[in-house]
């Protein structure tokens, strides 16, 4: 086993230990809250409005490969879909989901079907669609959904690149607000400009905790905060040691 392998495994085990610790300690006992993320606050209002005013939400989970690095942000989006489906299941117009990857489309349909079944409603397969298999055709398909389904709010969380601008522009033309988060750095540059409510950096990964998805989400967010400071300390220490000639 190499040194980097040992360090990597140790990091993962420490992370796991922190999540377990914070899960059992609980948020009230921690007495450390989370800062407000305006985009997520507006998302919560949009979900409430979809129930009260009967408007439709559209959630797009991107075109990331489920067997790769991009699957994580897609799983975050599926959790957001679960929260949105749960809240909007009593709405006249259930949310519509689009994706650019086959397995994600199947998982999204499964998530929505579960909540529709739980509320005694029949699931319509058209509510969860694969709109394209490469980024730009996927965006073109999403643009037509935004127009045809009279969407009030677009929630775009997933592995998006520059094609995100096409989707947000379609939303602007329909008068729909857009909240967007991506794990792709060029995609984040685009969403900063194009989206009304951008989720920058790793804020998209925090949506579960902010939407009340469970103690494990809150605990993992606290763990990320702790380990972020550890990583910063290691980087700064390494830079100082390199500067003084030790490394």
């Amino acid at each position: 086993m190499t040194v980097s392998g040992i360090l990597g495994l140790a990091f993962v085990l420490v992370f796991f230990g922190l999540i377990l610790t914070f899960t059992f300690v609980g948020q009230k006992r921690l007495k450390v809250g989370f800062r407000e993320i305006p985009a997520i606050s507006r998302l919560q209002r949009a979900i409430g409005l979809s129930v009260e005013a009967g408007t439709r939400l559209h959630l797009s989970i991107g075109s990331g490969n489920i067997v790769g690095f991009q699957s994580a942000i897609a799983f975050v989006a599926l959790r957001v879909l679960e929260q949105v489906s749960r809240a909007a299941s009593v709405s006249d117009r259930p949310p519509v989901t689009t994706s650019g990857e086959g397995a994600l489309a199947v998982l999204a349909a499964d998530t929505q079907r579960g909540w529709m079944r739980a509320t005694g409603l029949e699931f319509d397969p058209a509510m969860s669609r694969l709109t394209g298999l490469t980024p730009f055709p996927y965006a073109a398909g999403v643009m037509t959904v935004v127009h045809d389904e009279e969407v009030a709010t677009n929630i775009l969380i997933g592995s998006f690149g520059s094609e995100l601008a096409l989707i947000t522009e379609a939303g602007e033309r329909e008068g729909a607000g857009s909240l967007a988060g991506s794990d792709n750095v060029p995609g984040q540059a685009v969403l900063f400009v194009a989206a009304q409510d951008p989720l920058l950096g790793e804020e998209a990964f925090a949506t579960g905790a902010y939407l009340g998805a469970g103690a494990a989400h809150t605990a993992s967010l606290h763990s990320q905060d702790v380990l972020r400071w550890v990583v910063i300390a290691v980087i700064v220490a390494g830079a100082i040691l390199k500067f003084v000639g030790v490394l």
């Binding site: 086993m1 392998g5 990597g8 495994l9 993962v12 992370f15 796991f16 999540i19 899960t23 489920i66 067997v67 690095f69 994580a72 942000i73 799983f75 975050v76 959790r79 994706s99 990857e101 086959g102 397995a103 489309a105 199947v106 998982l107 499964d110 998530t111 397969p125 669609r129 694969l130 709109t131 298999l133 730009f136 055709p137 045809d148 520059s162 094609e163 601008a165 096409l166 947000t168 522009e169 794990d183 750095v185 984040q188 685009v190 900063f192 400009v193 194009a194 920058l200 950096g201 790793e202 998209a204 990964f205 925090a206 494990a216 993992s220 967010l221 990320q224 380990l227 972020r228 990583v231």
Partner: protein, 204 residues
Amino acid sequence: MRAPLSASIAIATGLVVLIGYFVPLGFLNSLRVFLIEWGVVLAGVAVLIGIANLYYVHWRKMTAGDPKSVFSAVLVVSLTATLLLVGSLGPAHPSSLWLFNYVQVPIESSLVALLAVILVYAGARMLGRRLDLSSAAFIITLVIVLLATGPLFGLEVPGLAEFRSWIAQVPATAGARGILIGIALGVIATGLRILMGADRPYSG
């Protein structure tokens, strides 16, 4: 726990793949590769399911007399024709390549070209909607990098190219790496939640 069997399979598979990356045991590495190959195959099958869903949605629109059903009809016809053509002749056949080079590539290129106009318009809209320090810094940096990258038709601005290089190599790289570190932490956290069974995107 909802769906305990699927949760157990997911957790066991995830643990085998995770440990297989760090611990160099022969059988574990082989099992990891085997499971990932199964995952790739399943993802491929899911693509077929997704295409079937796409077909079903647009077929339904076409037959329901939707006002915009002509677009759905175009999609259904072109999807069927492409599947038959490429399925029978193969993706390397000149006809298949013609379809790709003279239909798909121009359409995707036009969407990319549209992006340039949309991004300029979005930038102007951002200044009106959200004028703060970060937006102003974004636009100023954008203008500097564009001026330094594009042709200035013989006009030489001293130090502009060096300043642009410094922006790309120092603050932009630092910011991108910081974002990537944060995203990496989020990815690990998401994976660990799934391994713990706290997140179950597979159980509906």
